[in-house]
Symmetry: C2
Subunit: 273 residues, 2 copies
């Protein structure tokens, strides 16, 4: 058994510089075609809150705005409490490289308690993860090697290769960290951004440049729900409502294999077409 | 013809104090049971960006975090550019009363251009607004008098009055400003928050305290699309995915009567049950 930390934990290592400020470093394991995978940037911003001495409660909501390109190398992440209430706590975060703000964000934590609860969204009918073949990672998109992805519907297309549009942008996919790692809030946040750009699923004829502009996660899972998932796959279900004049939105839900809704997530994405 | 400004424009009046800072005042016309209607607070934060001399482009995304209770009376709204790129611009905003931060937020603007576009979400099958009866406002919730609401499905329940649960939290409703006012980005943002709490639709047996924690709008409409709506009703379609341990989420779409998807919006809401 190796004593090296999991690549996800390595990517989230933060060296404290001040109570609200820490230094991190982009991780080769989570590199995107340019700069880091957006999900790891979101996880780092959440981690800066979760490690903070003033933290109170578990995450309810996370928003990350990708303000500009992030260079490979060192960065500083700032996390400041905006307001602490009796049961909720508001945070603002930013990632800076030199003089540039590359990302801003906000988070809400809460002290949850058991209440009347009801699940309204239907759990999608899918075969078990073990019976779906894993999709090979995309060589030139390094972060895809950090996830085991098993597509039930809507995989990443092979452009030009007799692309067969499926008629919509829906993806249903089993996903987990590769190598496996017990689910926590930071890794759940990152998993919320693993969906390939919806425009490629809807329109697999042509690769175009894309970039997430802003990304939000609402956490339904608490620590206990995360613990029930452990290192199992989670089911991701993503689709777009509309592609229009340079931007499309994406709505997704992340489920445990046992049918617990862990998180809902939304983003709006720039595309050049 | 009256020369008095529309109540919505009155509520959005901001007196400049500095390039990034302005003073406003809560509006009796948009009062909620306690403090202001969350949609008007979101509209004020967006307005602080739209009126700013450095503004570049049209809104793509708006997130507002309701950090604490907002008192009736004066407030200051701060809007600061985080970063200006070639075609996008990132903003951070906050509303303060005295020493307290009552709301924080972020916005992304963009210079849009015509591209390949595709609408994937289906326009709901509904009767025209003119053929649906307007629902009387709720007396003790003053802001409801500022909107004409016509429910096709999922109206605000009358608690206890032989409440008939409809089995889910879905609402379909025609909505417009009352008196009518031509749609703009700020009023569209406010319209995204007019949906009654989903818990009341799902579980109409009992009133419980609720409060939106954070709220996001993705704008698909540009100026031209807003102009095509004018003073017509828009169709709102809202539902929750899950109610769990003190929080529920809401996902909604706003459509023009002609079937244009104007905005998608999400929020997570505290409930005490």
């Amino acid at each position: 058994m190796s004593s090296a930390p999991h690549p996800f934990d390595q990517a989230l290592q933060l060296e404290p510089l001040a109570p609200d400020r820490a230094r991190g470093h982009t991780s080769a394991a989570y590199a995107n075609m340019v700069g880091p995978f957006g999900g790891i940037t979101a996880a780092v911003m959440l981690q800066a809150v979760l490690r903070h001495a003033a933290r109170q409660g578990e995450p309810i909501a996370l928003t990350v705005n990708y303000a500009g390109p992030m260079a490979d190398g060192a960065f500083e992440v700032v996390a400041e409490v905006t307001r602490t209430n009796r049961s909720t706590q508001h945070w603002q975060m930013r990632i800076v490289q030199g003089e540039e703000i590359v990302a801003t964000g906000s988070a809400v934590l809460a002290t949850r308690r058991e209440t009347w609860s009801a699940l309204e969204a239907p759990f999608p009918a899918v075969p078990a993860a073990a019976s779906v073949e894993a999709t090979p990672p995309i060589g030139r998109v390094r972060w895809t090697t950090a996830y085991d992805m098993r597509f039930v519907k809507g995989p990443m297309p092979r452009f030009g290769d007799q692309a067969m549009p499926q008629g919509d942008s829906e993806s249903l996919q089993w996903i987990r960290d590769e190598p496996p790692r017990a689910l926590d809030f930071a890794s759940l946040a990152a998993l919320c951004d693993v969906f390939f750009p919806r425009i490629f699923v809807h329109r697999p004829t042509e690769w175009v440049p894309i970039g997430t502009v802003t990304f939000t996660v609402y956490f339904h899972a608490d620590e206990a729900a995360l613990g029930r998932v452990g290192t199992d796959h989670v089911l991701g279900h993503a689709r777009a409502h509309q592609f229009r004049n340079g931007f499309f939105d994406q709505a997704a839900q992340l489920w445990s294999a046992s049918g617990e809704l862990l998180a809902v997530t939304h983003q709006i994405v720039y595309f050049k077409a």
